[in-house]
């Protein structure tokens, strides 16, 4: 790549992906948001406030940790973990919610809504809403409410109203549908904090920009600790916000490989998975054109993953572009393989990863041994596993 990467265009296109595909009723709100986003991202005072919050409230920078024991065990590339699990609320999600909530406040919005899958984004949203004194409603699929009850309780403690969505497949995509319906109904006073790099423009670019702090840190930390850039970046991809945050500052560094890990669920061949980049086709959902899991009639297919945060039939449009352009590579990891990654990191490094991040860890166990010991992998440890204790205990037949 000789020209500097400058996606998306001013209408939110990453090649043929992205864009704004919403009903006319939402259009004025999207335009208002885009104008505010463009304005404040160039506003020194706004950026200073954001930086201050990221440092003192979120706890940034998060460490880049050299996992030496695990590296030795796998016998290949040096493995570095970007410790987003150490952020306030336990995942990378708060980088984005802090940013969007500040934007909401500047725009004079008094009510925040969000969708959530695993509940990490919902918790991160409820957290910033509590801090800023904003009303908060979180939409969550009824199935996810059941399997992530700990996060539901956390959101309620923080003062948010959690709405269990009973329509469709009762998971993340249906929560998104319901949040969009709320937004269009309460458009004057409500700000919709989308948790991933999907949705209509400017969300994919805006969420990426708020998450890119983690990639910028990782780049500087790697240079400081190892004296060179990494050879490969690895991150799990549901909607793709933690991966985009890590990848984005490295896109122009052509020698740095970027690998996104999708959830293969029971296995791609079973059809029970959440891997649109590996096994889907382009289409339009939730405001943007991207790879989707849909059938021959264009109906969206139900997805499956052990991790609620990856259980989504679409993916951010920038990932679709990075895939087609060949700049990034997308692989997939089954539920069982992810559990292997979960146990490996827990036992080798004393760090319990979220089931989402465990997909990235599982891929590292495959990738690292194929690389040389003077090569470096940075893997995004996007969240901690506390929220998954019930799921894991249940799998092991233990009652808590």
């Amino acid at each position: 790549m000789t020209e500097k990467y400058n996606m998306p265009d001013n209408r939110g296109h990453f090649g043929t992906y992205g864009g704004i595909f919403v009903a006319e009723t939402l259009m004025p709100a999207i335009q208002e948001l885009n104008a505010a986003y463009q304005h404040y991202m160039a506003d020194a005072e706004f950026i200073a406030e954001l930086d201050k919050d990221l440092q003192h409230y979120v706890g940034r920078p998060s460490p880049l940790y050299h996992a030496e024991r695990w590296t030795k065990e796998l016998g290949g590339a040096q493995i570095y973990l970007k410790r987003e699990d150490l952020n306030h609320t336990g995942s990378h999600k708060i980088n984005n919610t802090v940013g969007q909530a500040l934007l909401a406040k500047r725009m004079g919005k008094t009510r925040i809504i969000a969708e959530t899958g695993a509940g990490q984004h919902g918790v991160a949203t409820a957290t910033v809403a509590a801090r800023l004194g904003l009303e908060c409603v979180v939409y969550m699929g009824a199935i996810d409410v059941a399997r992530q009850s700990l996060n539901v309780y956390r959101m309620k403690l923080l003062g948010a109203k959690v709405v269990a969505v009973e329509s469709g497949s009762k998971t993340l995509k249906d929560a998104l549908n319901e949040a969009l319906r709320d937004w269009v109904t309460n458009i004057d006073d409500t700000f919709y904090i989308i948790g991933t790099v999907a949705g209509p423009h400017p969300y994919p670019a805006m969420v990426r920009d708020f998450q890119a702090i983690l990639g910028r840190e990782a780049k500087a930390q790697c240079l400081a600790q190892a004296g060179k850039l990494p050879n490969a970046l690895v991150a799990c991809v549901g909607g793709g916000s933690n991966a985009m945050g890590l990848f984005y500052p490295f896109i122009d560094d052509a020698d740095v490989k970027m690998i996104g890990v999708e959830a293969a669920g029971d296995g791609i061949e079973t059809g029970r998975h959440s891997a649109p980049l590996c096994a889907g086709r382009p289409g339009v959902l939730h405001g943007n054109r991207t790879y989707l899991m849909s059938d021959d009639d264009g109906e969206i297919i139900e997805t499956h993953s052990i991790s609620a945060g990856l259980d989504y039939p679409g993916v951010g449009p920038e990932h679709a572009w990075l895939k087609d352009s060949g700049r990034a590579q997308y692989v997939n990891i089954t539920d069982d393989e992810a559990l292997g990654g979960f146990y490996a990191l827990t036992r080798m490094e004393g760090i319990i990863p979220a089931l989402e991040s465990s997909h990235a860890m599982a891929y590292v166990t495959k990738l690292a041994p194929t690389m040389k010991s003077d090569e470096i992998i940075i893997v995004n440890l996007s969240g901690r596993g506390d929220k998954d204790m019930q799921t894991m205990a249940k799998r092991e037949g233990i009652e808590l």
Binding site: R11, F21, V22, M27, V184
Partner: protein, 267 residues
């Protein structure tokens, strides 16, 4: 001149307003829709909007969402919706049909194949809820080349600039959504609709159909006095939902409601 343009010209001469029912194709079962369409024509409707069932109807309220789910349970789709239109056209060549749905089924079929299929089915207009004019150029050009009108939504908060955009790219009529929110929501504010329509008309000569919030003869009459057409959807689908075990009863209730609306609008 398309069937829709011809119809609105004719109605304007007679000083009559279009009554436009919306039903989801294949709800509550695939055999229900074609006979219902013919019966609705008998009750005096002017245009029929056929909803294409979609798994993720983001702009619709619970009533139309459930209609989609019932149709999908019978594997209804864009293709079967067009088959319903084809079947209807065998014995009715004059009542315009508009299909209304979401973009993904169209994307998966492919724009050109879609435009061909729509034309072959005798469909007159296409309203794609999540395809705003900025992204619609390719699809609308293919439709227009086949004599099919692309129809666009207007909202209470649409700017004058956006109305001009719809006017330039749209055809047949514009569909004014009289409420903020999803289908089937809230109450109608007639004064607000009147003011907004007057404003919109300074930027377009296209006929304007008004929907969202029309639930009975009275609201149909009020809206009929303001717009060129009255769209009624959720109120009809509620009758289907209330009579799931007796579709014949649902059909009768829909026809009675439409007949009452027609009479109220014409008096």
């Amino acid at each position: 001149m398309s069937r829709l343009a011809g119809l609105f010209a004719e109605l304007a001469q007679k000083n009559r307003k279009a009554l436009i029912p919306f039903v989801t194709a294949g709800d509550p079962n695939p055999e229900f829709t074609v006979p219902l369409m013919h019966a609705m024509v008998g009750a005096g409707v002017d245009i029929i909007e056929l909803g294409v069932p979609f798994s993720d109807p983001m702009a619709d309220g619970p009533v139309i969402q459930r209609a989609s789910e019932r149709a999908l349970a019978h594997h209804q789709s864009l293709r079967t919706t067009l088959a319903i239109a084809t079947e209807f056209r065998k014995t009715n060549s004059h009542t315009p049909i508009v299909i209304m749905g979401y973009l993904n089924p169209v994307e998966v079929m492919g724009y050109e194949k879609f435009a061909d299929a729509v034309q072959a089915a005798g469909v007159d207009g296409v309203l794609t809820v999540d395809l705003p004019p900025e992204e619609a150029e390719e699809c609308t050009a293919l439709l227009k080349a086949r004599g099919v009108d692309p129809i666009f939504l207007l909202a209470p908060n649409s700017s004058a600039e956006r109305v001009q955009k719809m006017d330039a790219i749209g055809a047949g009529y514009l569909y004014y959504v009289s409420l903020k929110g999803v289908t089937g929501a809230g109450h109608l504010n007639a004064a607000e609709v009147e003011t907004k329509l007057a404003e919109i008309r300074t930027n377009t000569k296209l006929p304007i159909a008004v929907g969202f919030g029309v639930k009975d003869a009275e609201t149909a009459k009020i809206i009929g006095n303001l717009g060129d057409g009255v769209v009624v959807g959720s109120a009809l689908i509620k009758e289907i939902e209330a009579n799931l075990h007796n579709p014949a009863q649902a059909k009768q209730a829909i026809i009675e409601l439409l007949t009452a609306m027609r009479q109220a609008m014409d008096n």
